[in-house]
Amino acid sequence: MKLSCIIVEDIQIAADFLRKFCEKSDLVEVKGHFLNVADALDFLDQEKVDMLFLDVEMPGANGFELLDRLTYSPMIILTTSKTEYAFNAFQYHVDDYLKKPFTFKRFQEAIQKLQQKVAVPQTPANTTPTPAPTPAATTDTDFLFIKAEDKLIKLKKDDILFLESMRDYVKFVTPAKNYITYSTLKNMEEKLIDPNFLKVHRSYIVNINKIDDIRGNTIYLLGNQIPIGKGHKDEVAARLNIL
């Protein structure tokens, strides 16, 4: 199933290459090309897409400012010719980073990685949060095993504060120790069928029993601060019974 996308890029040659690569791969449908952040945001207010090819340096606002103003969480591939933005890309939890000019082979690798992250790509990006699985669907165990530190580690679910996505890895945070396992958050979300765990951001799943308090758009758990993603606010409010 094709991923829908827009291209946000002010250099025509770069945008043309992207469009050509998308057509050649037959995995991505380009819904539009925008030369600046303002026009892209106007489009995204009307139509949501699965992913963005996003340049950083553009006239007016830059790509990170677009990410700040997004009201939902599409997948992001950052395209730039500056390697210094790689750190910002990680902070913004972008899905991949393509340094211009990039070849079709590199483009294909990035798209295939996104395809693996999309479990059921039937429709364009979800506009409503995925409802939590019902208790009847849960695996009734109070622990799970993760592969970390060259062994299978048994974790009590009740010990887990939250999970954090780190690109191709997931960090399990417990009061005693953190564990990093080679997996995607999406994969963990599918395996961790438990009503006590709630995805609150594209990069975080929290144990709702461990929440101390919520201030604004931030969840506090034992000194850790977890952002609530814009696309997850409604579900968080519903699940936590926020009045």
Binding site: I11, D16, E57, P101
Partner: protein
Amino acid sequence: MQNIRTGFVFDESLNAAFLAELFEGDTIYAETVFEDFLRDIPVYWERVETAYNNKNLPVLGTSVHTCKTLFGYVGFTDLQELCQQFENKCSVNTVEELRLDYLLLIQRKERAQHIIEKEYYRLRQFNGSNG
């Protein structure tokens, strides 16, 4: 990129290995990209000149950044690197301190533009005779 043609050899000052991977033998598309480069570089370079003359270092940096990308797409990966160095210097040096680097950049840009003009016409000829 369906138009696969063998036999076209790019000028030695270009990164031929990179262009081979980028265009995958599609000299028709290469011709289009080179044409677009020749159309766009004067526009973007004018911004570089204006920013330098106005001593506007932030705009100078971002304008060179844009040209850097264009040079990359036509195989001038070494000029791309030179632009990156200049761009980095824009955030730490004064315009006066950048003068020699700027003059070198102009020289390299002129040479690059001349080479791409030549390559563009060679590509047109090659594609025309192989079409």
